[in-house]
């Protein structure tokens, strides 16, 4: 599903953020990415959702080398990837409902039964009362939940979530994690970057642990290796 081979990465001529990173995430696996602030978690996810290109090494997604994809191919591939951005990236002029439905529109799916599905999902993340609210009128945690709903609405094959519980309390965080597990059980490969070690301890999934430029393979990552190779 996701294969990194000796990937190094840095921004322009800056210091290396990721160095010689290799792993393979099997379809249907569930991984956490851990690491201190600035360790490169978001950068790693950006490589996976094709926002950045690796400075060295090779990445393949869905069995295809990303270096060889055309713009067109990339657009199609992005539709199979759901992303929860660390800074949400909601469209301020669209309601929560429209934001969540956006991936369906872009993919050209216009089935009004999907609307129901969107409403249901928003209720599930506790926003049933806010489906017509614009993002600027939502609290931080509410925005984050809209972002999560948008990432999962199209049943992506690969779900990438960057600090998806930073703005919600522990009870909600658990609830959201259960949502991710649910999706995972239905076949979605899930990768979650987080600081919340307590959360990670509760869910026995393999861990990719980043430590700046010299990436340490943690105990968790041993399990990654088991899951991936």
């Amino acid at each position: 599903m996701v294969r990194f081979e000796n990937v190094t990465f840095r921004y322009d001529a800056g210091p290396y953020v990721l160095r010689d990173l290799s792993f393979h995430l099997r379809p249907g696996s569930f991984h956490f990415v851990l690491g201190a602030s600035g360790a490169g978690k978001s950068s790693l996810l950006q490589l996976m959702y094709l926002w950045q290109r690796p400075s060295g090494g090779a990445i393949s997604l869905f069995g295809r080398d990303v270096g060889e994809l055309s713009r067109q191919d990339k657009a199609v591939m992005r539709r199979r990837i759901g992303v929860v951005f660390q800074d949400f990236r909601l469209l301020d002029h669209l309601s929560a409902l429209e934001n969540v439905a956006l991936p369906l529109r872009v993919a050209g799916r216009r089935n009004s039964s999907l609307d129901e599905h969107v409403v249901e999902l928003l209720s599930w993340v506790g926003l049933g009362d806010h489906i017509h609210a614009l993002p600027p009128t939502l609290s931080g945690g509410q925005q984050q939940r809209v972002a999560i709903a948008r990432a999962v609405i199209a049943r992506p094959s690969l779900l990438l979530a960057d600090e998806p519980t930073g703005n919600v309390d522990d009870r909600l965080a658990l609830r959201l994690l259960y949502l991710f597990e649910e999706l995972n059980k239905m076949g979605t490969t899930v990768v979650i970057a987080t600081h919340n070690e307590q959360l990670v301890e509760r869910f026995p999934h393999p861990v990719i642990r980043l430590a700046g430029s010299d990436n340490m393979i943690s105990g968790g990552t041993r399990r990654t290796a088991g899951a991936g190779r």
């Binding site: 926002w51 409902l97 429209e98 872009v106």
Partner: protein, 295 residues
Amino acid sequence: MIVGRRDVPLDNDASARFLPWLIGFMVYLAALALAAAIAVSNLTERWDKGLSDQVTVQVPPDIESDGGQDARVQAVLEVLRGKVGVVRARPVEPARMRELLEPWLGSQAATGDLPLPSLIAVTVDRGDPPDLDALRAELREAAPGATLDDHQRTLGRLLEIAHSLQLLAMLVVALIAGAAVVTVVFVTRTGLAVHRQVIELLHLIGARDGYVASQFQRHALRLGLAGGVAGLALAAATLFGLSKVFESGGEAAVIPDLSLSPLQWAILGATPVAAALVAMLTARFTVLRTLARLS
């Protein structure tokens, strides 16, 4: 409830309100400048056609004998008709002469007993003109006092002025076109800057470049057309008013003719369409270039 909204909220932008005004203003000015250029061109064409291949021979009146005048005119015509390079030579009717002199001598006087010189309008072949100096000498021999006037010289200056006015008008049109492109590029760039996050997000969730560009280009086309049509309507009204004013004073030869040919009206009518197309293509091109820079 999802369909019908635009993903990029351009309609709420300042541009939605301002671009039509600017485009309208530019189309208005462009249409006026174009009309001026066309009018001057019509005018010079009239001059060119009417006068550029014309010279005039003048035979002064012989006050003593009435018959002598006619004989002398005949002698002059004889000389002229044999010349290579002379296409036609024809005496100007006295009635026409009086008409020409009327603004200078007053209407009553022109009908009166004022003995006038005889004029002979000569059409020469400018491609192979006769030697005018030699011709002058010959004419003086045939009829003492006869002179030859080449309008080309005085006309040349007027034409020079007309052409530089025309050039200026076309320069103004070109400037306006340039300004319109600059404006649309600016508006589009600004739209991209204001909506950068929206565009990035659309890109990230798998929207094709064309999908994003189409939103901007439709926006620009609509605004451009709206402004352009309004500008043209105003310009047409202005031109119509001007042509009425000109007509009422239309006797003077120097006043340009504002009655345009259908083709010329079509050119004017095309300005808003051209403006809208320029706006649309500029928007599309600018968006695609910006998107290409995203991974």
